[in-house]
């Protein structure tokens, strides 16, 4: 089953939550931004100001964009079908995403993927998606 581009919705704006605005600014510049804790050094997702592991302060860093498929499900009832899934980033966290520019039938849990960016509809920000590496 081939990938067909679909309109990607967004809700609110990158300004809705000031805490996460740099994530969307990064995505618009082709960078996958993640938060790393300055205390426990762990990377988490979705991004927060306070570390969800220790409540320490976090700084932004650009992720490598390399990841492995953790799981996925192809919504065949949708038109066009789309593949939602989690990827495990090289930096650690599992991240919810979609898989694009690939044959859904050939997708495999554990396979290597890399980040790519897609603009959301109605002038919304870009978001990170993943495609086979």
């Amino acid at each position: 089953m081939a990938y067909t581009a679909r309109k990607i919705p967004f809700v609110g704006t990158p300004d809705t939550n000031p805490e996460t605005k740099p994530f969307f600014q990064g995505a618009d510049a082709g960078k996958l931004m993640v938060r790393r804790c300055t205390s426990c050094k762990k990377v988490h997702h979705y991004p927060r100001e306070l570390c969800p592991f220790c409540f320490g302060s976090c700084e932004w860093q650009e992720a490598s964009g390399k990841a492995k498929v953790y799981t996925f499900s192809v919504m065949e009832r949708a038109n066009p079908p789309y593949a939602i899934g989690y990827v495990t980033l090289e930096e650690g966290p599992n991240v919810l995403t979609n898989f694009v520019d690939c044959d859904f039938k050939a997708l495999k849990i554990g396979q290597d993927v890399k980040v790519t960016f897609v603009k959301t509809e109605d002038g919304g920000p870009s978001m990170p998606f993943f495609t086979p590496a």
Binding site: T16, T20, R77, L96
Partner: protein, 390 residues
């Protein structure tokens, strides 16, 4: 101090409707309340505690419904954790009764997603963008079916679970639903029927999914002295547990559910183990939900759920663990897209000996009713209730 036995379920009533275009949601709540009161042999004026969740219309927890039903309450609680809210309400009501904050607690659930044409499982629904996760999830099309599909896919990858094994769960539910005149799907289906039904979101087929129905249910809980003064069989609450599970900052593991955490405190309070259970109501939004919860509640080892449910092991009179003998959410009813209360109601029927004779478990003295609310693929709550016939 253990709360074991601090409350009894004195009234339980499931609305017979599955499609109610001519009724308001508030009326459905009130009809369920009336049904549960009549079942218990109590009246509206006896209620002094009210428990509801996000399906109660009005937006300010219990306020609209206590106004509509004209209840005079000393205690209210509107903890909303989706379809698991009603097991949670049983626990909270037991705590309130034990603390003397109310004597007769009413719990209601109602809704009509079927009449409102809601595509519950397949249409992503935007929420408030101020919810911290919303902008990181909604663009990717999270709908209920694919959030559970992702769990099924990972479970298959790690443990070798098959679509045929999942199908056995629907087969068992359909065997029970044939005896329920109110069930939406009364035809007995086969494993082949399930795996050959249209794919919704891989690896879940249409028949791996629950029904979308209007309706509701209600429960009456009360303290031991009052329960023993009533004329109904005594159903004692002996164990409760509740726990949320979520993405854990990115450390999410989709191979288990919150039942892993809500089960142990309930088992410990009850002082029994899974093999003591005669009947199990297990939340069944999808077949995979049942399989994972059975593992996490300890009915089988992790990863062995596929083998456990296969070959009719969940069919009453056939297998070792009769489950969802009303047909469950998979075949009978999933009112308001929240199946928690109907799980408790069928467990009460079984313990009273009032289930359909074709599915009644002989000498049913211990039952479990487990709920899941939210989505296994992102965040959800698990809630466990263990009941004993006295």
């Amino acid at each position: 101090m253990s709360l074991k036995g601090a409350a009894y379920i004195a009234g339980a009533w499931e609305h017979p409707t599955r499609k109610a275009p001519d009724k308001s949601i508030a009326l459905l709540h009130a009809e369920c309340a009336k049904g549960a009161l009549e079942d218990a042999g109590l009246t509206k004026d006896d209620i002094d505690g009210y428990f509801c969740a996000g399906d109660a219309p009005g937006g300010l927890g219990p306020l609209s419904m206590v106004d509509y039903m004209n209840l005079k309450c000393r205690h209210v609680d509107s903890t909303d954790v989706g379809g698991s809210s009603y097991q949670v309400a049983v626990g909270h009501a037991m705590e309130a009764i034990a603390a003397g904050r109310c004597n007769i607690a009413l719990i209601t659930l109602s809704g009509r997603p079927r009449s409102e044409g809601q595509a519950t499982g397949t249409a992503p629904r935007p929420g408030n963008p101020a919810a911290p996760e919303m902008q990181f999830e909604y663009p990717y099309g999270p709908a209920t079916a694919n959030l559970y599909g992702m769990c099924a896919a990972r479970h298959m990858y790690e443990y070798g679970t098959t679509s045929e094994q999942l199908a056995w769960i629907k087969v068992a539910a359909s065997h029970h639903a044939q005896y329920n005149p109110n069930a939406m799907l009364r035809d007995v289906v086969t494993v082949e029927d399930v795996v050959n039904s249209p794919m919704v979101s891989t690896p879940l087929h249409r028949l791996d999914c629950c029904v979308i129905s209007d309706g509701g249910g209600a429960l009456i809980l009360t303290k031991p002295e009052i329960a023993k003064s009533l004329k109904r069989p005594l159903v004692k609450v002996i164990g409760v547990g509740e726990s949320p599970k979520h993405q854990a900052g990115g450390e999410i593991d989709l191979t288990y559910t919150a039942a892993r955490w809500s089960g142990p405190p309930a088992w410990e309070m009850a002082g029994i183990k899974p093999s003591d259970i005669k009947y199990a109501s297990i939340y069944d939004s999808f077949t995979i939900t049942v399989l994972m919860q059975l593992e996490d509640l300890g009915f089988c080892e992790k990863g062995q759920g596929g083998k456990f449910v296969a070959d009719g092991n969940l069919i009453s009179g056939v297998g070792k663990l009769p489950f969802n003998t009303d047909g469950g959410g998979l075949c009978s009813n999933h009112p308001a897209n929240r199946g928690g209360i109907t799980k408790i109601i069928e467990a009460v029927r079984q313990l009273r000996g009032e289930a359909h004779p074709s599915v009644q478990v002989p000498n049913c003295d211990l039952a479990i009713a487990h709920g899941t609310g939210g989505a296994l693929g992102t965040r959800h709550c698990g809630s466990t209730v263990i009941l004993e016939r006295e």
